[in-house]
């Protein structure tokens, strides 16, 4: 079987280039320029899929984005699988492999169709809601089998080999759709000098002109298209984007354009000049003005058996013949309500195949095309329609009968006409999808028998998209709309000459949606409305009968419009049927709302380059390379990669975290350790009111902090809850350096700014982030001073450089600020140097540190050491519901400060003033070998029945090598008054740990070690 439906000539395909492809494992040939759909039709492939619910055989219906049936699985390898590709939009390429998404064992003979045939009757809409309820325990089993029949295609099971990206575009005028209206609009806008983007979803630009019978300036329309495209391509201010679908229209004229860059070439992007190409590119366009030139979709008629392969849209028949040189059958019956669809019969006839008859719903059709058909001797049966298609795997006949003027009843005896193809047309629906993405409700127009878009500021529609169909008018509308858009964007209109087009005289169309049958809808053979979701006219009638009266209800109850085609073919018909059932008009039943996407878009294209190692920035300190080289394990803290611990490998054995941390802790307590603390936020604060400002945002006092001194501060929100902490150093009378937590750096800076800018603009103070400027390394431990003395000539004497002092000096040859602050409880020096020198200073310290046992440590050891001292970590020991008092930090609350600082007022609210709030305490497990689980819940009575009253939880818990025991910080209700009492921690494994409430300071409670 070789392209038996391919015409010997005609079409825009490249007959010199043959392409081979497979469908369901069978090999076929097509041509360059084919879509997969046109190639399948050329080869006489009728059944392309099985339907979702009833497993009925389905064939190709349309030639574009509205295709509901021909949804296939593409891809030759596992990683290259693409589910749910519309064959009508997939360009054919050499070696293409496609499969039907449903059908078992195969699409020709599908066993599930038996279920569909027998069970179809028992599966009205909503049938799931009405059954499978007993017994309750079996639902999960039922569901397992229901799920098996779900879905169309399948996900690849391997990682995508391809890459995607984004392009941030900005233009004055974006024209969507390159049919006659779009081309004219783009040309007009471009001539005015505006920056123009013209995007079109098809393989080639030109839209309906590519299969038009009309002459423009006495030449075939496609020649005019080529000429305009050449002009546009030569203009600097124009970007042409073929194969690019405007999939989402968002607020303020932000449009996403999905450009398929390699899908027409292969299932995996081929390399170009040895470099990777992106498979798809999302253009994120901010447009001054948008012109929707998206055309219209033809509506099929809804008649019995209208889903049997061989039922096509009339316009699709013309497209396949004229654009692809494919006649999808031998004998055609056309059923129409309008003149334009007559093109299908004329094209079919010209292709040398038989037009059996045209069933025209109108009593006296008399337009130009009608006359042309008559002149060719084609039989026209007026006042009639195809009421039923016969056949199972392919149309074998059409039952045509006369119907009444409303299209509600069959009035005559049906005649069965032998044919293999039925083309139908119920009129045209403007493609209004994009306009409704931002909430614009479309308006129904009786004269057009369709919805037109309601447009917001900055958008206009041209041509078919607003119901203008005659080519001459479309072109004029395009030019007008394009010029206006450009002029609204500030560009003076320039003249554009329009081609001459003969005006065709068309007769009026009539409204026809569901074609009547001799039997009532509920008893007639199935009349499909939404082919992809197997929604029938009977289903809609039943839904309305059951009380589902709004179109939103009908859609949800029947699933109409929820397919991958989003109801492009079926929605208006469905609304018309619902309206008729309810005795209302279409607009009374509701309007149709479309959501992005216009056609589905791969996740990959939306994700772009923001995946894998570029998913989120990794922030590094200046010493990162050293950490990597020294085997650090890293912890994610915000976007930073911080060394977590430094496991050593001795004789091929690598330490566990527990071993490494124990070693690191002891090194700090007994010798000296070093921590990369560069990630802490650092804010340079200057100005005469800097001190006053600090007093307002911190809970404690700042009035007397002298230059050279450092103080710990606690920050609350105005609800009284702690949200960050850190030390702030007085550099000069009007000059402070604030540090924040690693995760809080940006938040705190914005916090300072919002108060300054919105509440206290009169305060003279500026804040600048200097986080990245400084690298910070903390050396801490009894040997810290000796080590530092080796690399600096600063005076490190404990009297002249006291605890909580800072000094300037030169460390390892580099100017440094050194802070005597301690987060470990040991003697500590925090060395800040300009980050570009940091690695040198760090390495110099190591060069001198070996003899002192200098040990790098990470965040885990830092946590253990600070917890031994009862120092909190904001965000770990606090959770947004903890006040400074809850933390036992009364010493850091300046109740008598003159300014009502942030957080103060809230502390006196009834709930925050309670004395039995959860308060920070230490917990000493009764069994020292036990390390309590962080997050373990605390109870007073472990024998209480579930639900068991919980009185707090463990916030931090570690093994302390110093204490050789587990220990923890926790919040416990009224804990500060319960020292020495026992609490219980019932765990998942059934164990109940006991612990004693103790002071949160476990090591060196007097703080002597940091003061040496």
């Amino acid at each position: 079987m070789s392209q038996l439906n391919r015409l010997p000539q005609g079409g825009r395909i490249d007959r010199s280039r043959k392409l081979s492809f497979t469908f369901n494992g069978k090999s076929y040939e097509g041509h360059a320029g084919d879509t997969l759909a046109s190639a399948l039709l050329a080869n006489g492939v009728d059944i392309v899929n099985r339907s979702f619910k009833y497993s009925r055989p389905r064939g190709i219906v349309a030639a574009g984005a509205e295709e509901p049936n021909a949804v296939v699985q593409l891809g030759a390898t596992e990683a290259a699988q693409v589910p749910n590709v519309r064959a009508t939009q997939q360009a054919l390429y050499e070696g293409l492999e496609a499969r039907s998404t449903n059908g078992w064992p195969n699409v020709q003979r599908d066993l599930m169709s038996l279920v569909g045939k027998l069970g179809g009757k028992f599966m009205p809409p909503g049938f799931y809601y009405k059954t499978f309820m007993a017994p309750a325990s079996l639902w999960m089993t039922y569901e397992k089998y229901i799920r098996k029949s779900a879905g169309l295609g399948r996900s690849p099971m391997e990682r995508d080999p391809d890459i995607y990206d984004h392009l941030h575009q900005h233009c004055d005028v974006l024209v969507i759709g390159a049919g006659p209206a779009g081309l004219a609009a783009a040309l007009a806008a471009a001539r005015s000098g505006a920056r123009v983007i013209l995007a079109d979803e098809q393989e080639e630009m030109g839209g309906s002109l590519l299969d038009s019978r009309e002459l423009l300036d006495d030449r075939p329309a496609e020649q005019w298209v080529a000429q305009v495209l050449e002009t546009l391509a030569g203009m600097d201010n124009v970007t042409l984007l073929p194969r690019t679908t405007a999939n989402g229209y968002h607020d303020h004229n932000f449009v996403t354009l999905h450009e398929r860059r390699t899908e027409h070439l292969a299932d995996t992007a081929p390399r170009k000049d040895g470099r990777r190409q992106v498979r798809a590119r999302m253009h994120r366009v901010r447009a001054g003005r948008v012109v929707l030139a998206t055309g219209a979709h033809e509506r099929p008629l809804v008649y019995a058996g209208n889903d049997v392969p061989g039922n096509l849209l009339a316009g699709a028949v013309s497209t396949y013949i004229r654009r692809y040189g494919v006649v999808p059958g031998q004998k055609l019956v056309l059923s129409t309500s309008n003149d334009h669809a007559y093109r299908a019969a004329l094209d079919w006839h010209e292709a040398g195949r038989e037009v059996v008859a045209i069933a025209d719903a109108r009593a006296n059709p008399d337009g130009e095309l009608v006359e042309r058909a008559r002149a060719r001797g084609i039989r026209i049966i007026t006042g009639s329609a195809v009421i039923e298609a016969k056949g199972e795997s392919r149309v074998s006949g059409a039952r045509v009968a006369t119907i009444d003027a409303e299209g509600f009843r069959v009035t005559g005896q049906a005649e069965t006409l032998a044919c293999d193809t039925i083309a139908s047309s119920g009129g045209y629906s403007p493609v209004i999808h994009l306009a409704s993405h931002t909430g614009g409700r479309p308006t129904w127009r009786d004269d057009l028998l369709g919805f037109v878009p309601t447009l917001v500021k900055g958008v206009s529609a041209a041509g078919g998209a607003q119901g203008v169909y005659a080519t001459a008018e479309v072109l004029a509308d395009g030019v007008e709309t394009g010029s206006r858009a450009a002029s609204e964007a500030g560009f003076a209109a320039a003249p554009v000459s329009l081609p001459q087009v003969a005006v065709r005289r068309d007769g009026a169309a009539v409204a026809l949606y569901q074609v009547p049958h001799e039997k009532p809808t509920l008893r007639a053979p199935k009349q499909f409305v939404d082919l992809q979701n197997d929604v029938t006219a009977a289903g809609i009638e039943l839904a309305t009968r059951e009380g589902f009266e709004s179109i939103e209800h009908v859609k949800r109850y029947t699933a109409m419009g929820f397919g991958t085609d989003q109801g492009k073919l079926g929605n208006i018909n469905g609304m018309a049927i619902a309206a008729r059932c309810l005795g209302r008009s279409i607009p009374e039943v509701g309007t149709t709302v479309f959501r992005p996407n216009y056609t589905p878009v791969t996740f990959g294209a939306i994700v772009g380059r923001h995946c894998r190692e570029l998913f989120d920035p990794e922030r590094y300190t200046a010493m990162h390379q050293w950490h990597v080289e020294h085997g650090a394990e890293f912890e994610d803290v915000g976007q930073w990669k911080r060394p977590w611990y430094f496991p050593k490998t001795v004789n091929g054995k690598t330490e566990t975290m527990h071993e490494a941390v124990a070693r690191e802790c002891l090194a700090v307590r007994e010798a000296v350790g070093i921590l990369d603390a560069s990630t802490l936020g650092k804010i340079d604060i200057q100005g005469p009111d800097a001190r006053e400002f600090l007093g307002r945002v911190y809970t404690n006092k700042w009035a007397k902090l002298a230059p050279g001194r450092v103080r710990y501060g606690l920050m609350c929100k105005d609800d009284g809850m702690v949200f960050d902490d850190g030390t702030t150093s007085c550099l000069g009378e009007n000059h402070f350096l604030m540090t924040t937590t690693t995760g809080g750096a940006a938040t705190v800076l914005e916090w300072l700014e919002i108060w300054h800018q919105t509440e206290w603009p009169e305060l003279e103070v500026y804040f600048n982030s200097v986080t990245d400027h400084w690298a910070t390394m903390t050396i801490t431990g009894p040997e810290a001073r000796k080590l530092l003395a080796e690399v600096t000539d600063m005076d490190l004497d404990r009297e002249s450089f006291k605890f909580m002092d800072w000094r300037e000096g030169v460390v390892a040859g580099v100017p440094a600020r050194v802070f005597r602050i301690s987060f470990t409880g040991e003697l500590a020096f925090e060395i800040n140097v300009q980050a570009n020198y940091a690695l040198h200073v760090w390495e110099t310290l190591f060069a001198h540190g070996e003899k002192y046992g200098l040990t790098p440590y990470g965040t885990e050891t830092m946590h253990v050491l600070r917890a031994e001292k009862g120092f909190i970590i904001a965000g770990q020991d606090t959770d947004g519901s903890v006040t400074p008092e809850d933390l036992g930090m009364q010493w850091a609350i300046g109740y008598d400060k003159p300014f009502p600082w942030i957080g103060k007022r809230a502390l006196s609210r009834p709930d925050t003033a309670r004395t039995d709030r959860k308060q920070l305490v230490g917990l000493k497990p009764k069994d020292p070998k036990v390390v309590l689980e962080e997050g373990a819940q605390i109870v007073f009575d472990p024998h209480h029945a579930i639900p068991m009253p919980m009185v707090g939880h463990v916030t931090s818990s570690y093994y302390s090598p110093t204490l050789d025991s587990g220990f923890a910080l926790a919040v416990v209700k009224g804990g500060q008054q319960k020292m020495g009492e026992t609490v219980y921690l019932p765990m998942a494994d059934g164990q109940v740990h006991e612990a004693e409430i103790v002071s949160p300071i476990f090591v060196d409670p007097k703080g002597e070690r940091q003061n040496v």
């Binding site: 607020d251 303020h252 901010r286 917001v456 914005e750 919105t758 509440e759 603009p761 007022r905 609210r909």
Partner: protein, 116 residues
Amino acid sequence: MFYIHCPYCGETREEEEFHPKGQAHIARPLDPDACSDEEWGDYLFFRDNPRGIHHELWVHAVGCRKFFNVTRHTVTYEILETYKMGEQPSITAEHPEGRPTDAVDQQASLRDGVRA
């Protein structure tokens, strides 16, 4: 996605450069200690939530880092105006077409304006 005119940068920029910070013109009580619990709760938590014209505080976070006000319709999402801290809106729910000019002229003092 919004396209927002920053009154400090004098340019209309992508929403991704900005962060919304809640309702505009929420002033911290000058004397918190004099507030009842109810008044303090109102200040902390109770906000207008209109279906229609709303005044919001935004910050040009990836830009000039300045806070400013946006008058926006919460259904159509149309931005009706943006204005600096300390200024009052000219478009309000009561005056959707713009306040009479004399009302606009009655700008509060810088301090009060910023705070309210």
